[in-house]
């Protein structure tokens, strides 16, 4: 009876959010007095999977079927369900990603498990009551949720758990087959289109984000945002009005109806801080606001602020980052 951890891989590497999920899973295993086994999806290498030992994983199951490289809801669900059966897992942990949520919700029905998404803390298991804390109301509240039943599935929010790094520990990688058939690949993608990311940093995975609003005055000024992002190794983002008028693509829109991010550092440039925007960013660890209007509501949610013109302040910040070396 081990805890099963679903690890998403991309281009051979384990995603950062999955390192967090693995660390979460191994700590849950400790709490329950058992070990943590991972099942890997996506394109992985054996060496990278073995390294999951550093996050406390004992064993990794990997099906090298090439069609599993891209996300296929039917096949992924069947693979993970088979791994859960083999390991007799009572707790399954995955990332609260588009893949994690799509697979987790189907798995919960198939395995008759209770499911909590958007989980932000390790569970409590007191007197037979299994409780987790999750984000609700678009980051404006937290809820303690009691999960019933013998099996539980937890989808862990990105950046809410610190990844463990116990150097030198390795996990045992085992090949695994769920006997997938063509029918399991019915929803396989015909085509996968990846967006270009500023400086190669993926927004949902980023631990630093530089974001621009209408105060940037036009898409031609985004080089100021990009320069600072590149210097910091950050991803770029924008507010809803900016993506609505097509200054920036929709996939950069953070807010209540866009992407929710929870980086360590969120720098908002020329964004007033409407409640719908705050909903997408308010679980960031440190928020910096740069706005020429001292009354901008975003300052109330910020840790650091500069009242000033973004066109004057941003180049100074980029310069200061470069000087840090």
């Amino acid at each position: 009876m081990s805890v099963l951890v679903v690890v998403e891989c991309d281009g051979g590497e384990v995603k950062k959010s999955s390192l967090e999920v693995a660390s979460y899973g191994s700590q849950v295993a400790q709490l329950l007095g058992t070990t943590a086994t991972a099942v890997a999806v996506g394109e992985a290498t054996e060496a990278n999977l073995a390294q999951l030992g550093e996050q406390g994983i004992t064993k990794v199951l990997y099906d090298a079927e090439p069609r599993l490289k891209d996300f296929v809801n039917g096949a992924y669900t069947k693979l993970i369900a088979a791994a859960a059966q083999q390991e007799d897992s009572k707790v399954i942990v995955l990332a609260n990603s588009n893949i994690g949520a799509a697979v987790g919700s189907r798995l919960s029905v198939r395995l008759q498990a209770s499911l909590a998404t958007n989980v932000v803390e390790l569970p409590k298991n007191d007197g037979g009551q299994f409780t987790v804390k999750r984000g609700a109301f678009s980051g404006k509240a937290l809820a303690d949720v009691v999960l019933s039943g013998e099996r539980k599935i937890l989808a862990v929010k990105k950046n809410s758990i610190e990844a463990l790094h116990e150097a030198g520990k390795t996990a045992q990688v085992e090949s695994f087959s769920a006997q997938l058939t063509d029918a399991d690949f019915a929803d396989a993608p015909k085509q996968v289109i990846m967006q270009e990311q500023t400086g190669g940093v993926l927004l949902p995975e980023a631990d630093k984000v530089v974001s621009g609003g209408r105060g940037m005055k036009g898409p031609e000024n985004w080089n100021l945002i990009e320069d600072l992002a590149k210097a910091l190794g950050a991803a770029t983002a924008c507010s809803k009005p900016v993506s609505d008028v097509d200054w920036r693509p929709h996939h950069e829109h953070v807010g209540q109806t866009g992407i929710t991010v929870s980086p360590n550092l969120y720098i908002a440039c020329g964004i007033s801080g409407a409640i719908q925007h705050l909903a997408g960013v308010n679980s960031s660890k440190v928020i910096v606001v740069i706005n020429k209007d001292p009354e901008a509501p975003f300052f109330k949610a910020a840790d650091y602020g500069i009242v000033g013109d973004v066109f004057d302040v941003l180049p100074k910040l980029t310069q200061a980052v470069k000087e840090l070396g």
Binding site: A102, S105, V146, S148, L265, Q276, A301, A302, I306
Partner: protein, 246 residues
């Protein structure tokens, strides 16, 4: 083609969140409720596809108590043909999914659409549960949906990109922008909505599997530390030495 659009009744996006004194429930006092913004994409796209096909029906479904009916009427005013309300408080995602699956099965719907998630509970679960309960594919979250005969072409958002997916009816999709421009009701729609059928049915299925023990507000920020604009570089030093985030 028969479309089933599931809508959720949620607090308006500008609502200040507060809870009942025992912290077990959201405090509804003085709060304006709206159709979940993500669900508006599902509703409008279903109406657009029906219009393009020149026939078919759009049925709107809500799991909720009688106080959700104004927003069900609003969905009818936007252009849905009829509505079903499952007369129950939506206790958890699994409970809601069972209601949707039961109605979808009985009604023989071809396409089941809903928003990516509700903006109150943010479960992002119901779509997959419905698909699994019915044994049909789910595409979530979908940014684009086109139909050609019984085949749908969708764009599914993945982290950092998108996948083009083709599925045959019946299927479930959870919708988000930029799928369409959500419509608002016009006067004619509002007038005709009053007489469109709204059927109320009682819930079915098993008990919910999760329960909220308590709600809490996130910890408050300590307050902003302001750095003078002329000394902007100082901020970077603070981020490294004090906040330790760079």
């Amino acid at each position: 083609m028969k479309f089933l659009v599931c809508i959720s009744n949620v607090p308006d996006t500008t609502t200040k969140i507060a809870f009942t004194p025992d912290n077990k429930e959201f405090n509804k006092a003085g709060v304006q409720f709206v159709i979940n913004p993500w669900d508006e994409y599902a509703l409008t796209r279903a109406i657009e596809l029906k219009e393009a096909q020149g026939g078919g029906t759009v049925t709107v479904l809500n799991v909720g108590e009688a106080d959700t009916e104004p927003n069900i009427r609003k969905a009818l005013a936007i252009g849905a043909d009829d509505a079903i309300r499952v007369n129950a408080y939506p206790k958890d995602a699994f409970f809601v999914a069972q209601q949707i699956a039961s109605i979808a099965k009985d009604g023989g719907y071809d396409v089941i659409l809903m928003g990516k998630e509700s903006i109150d509970y943010n479960g992002f679960q119901v779509h997959g549960m419905v698909g699994e309960l019915l044994g049909i594919p789910t595409v979530a979250p979908a940014m684009k949906l086109d139909m050609s005969g019984n085949t749908a072409t969708l764009e599914r958002e993945i982290e950092g990109g998108k996948e083009i997916v083709e599925v045959n009816t019946p299927f479930v999709a959870s919708c988000q922008q930029p799928m369409c421009e959500p419509r608002i009701p016009n006067m004619r729609g509002i007038m005709t909505a009053r007489t469109k059928p709204l059927k109320v049915v009682e819930p079915v299925g098993d008990a919910p599997r999760t329960e909220v023990a308590t709600y809490a507000l996130p910890p408050k920020k300590e307050g902003v530390k302001l750095i003078p604009a002329e000394n902007a570089g100082e901020l970077i030093k603070l981020l490294r030495n004090e906040a330790k985030v760079i």
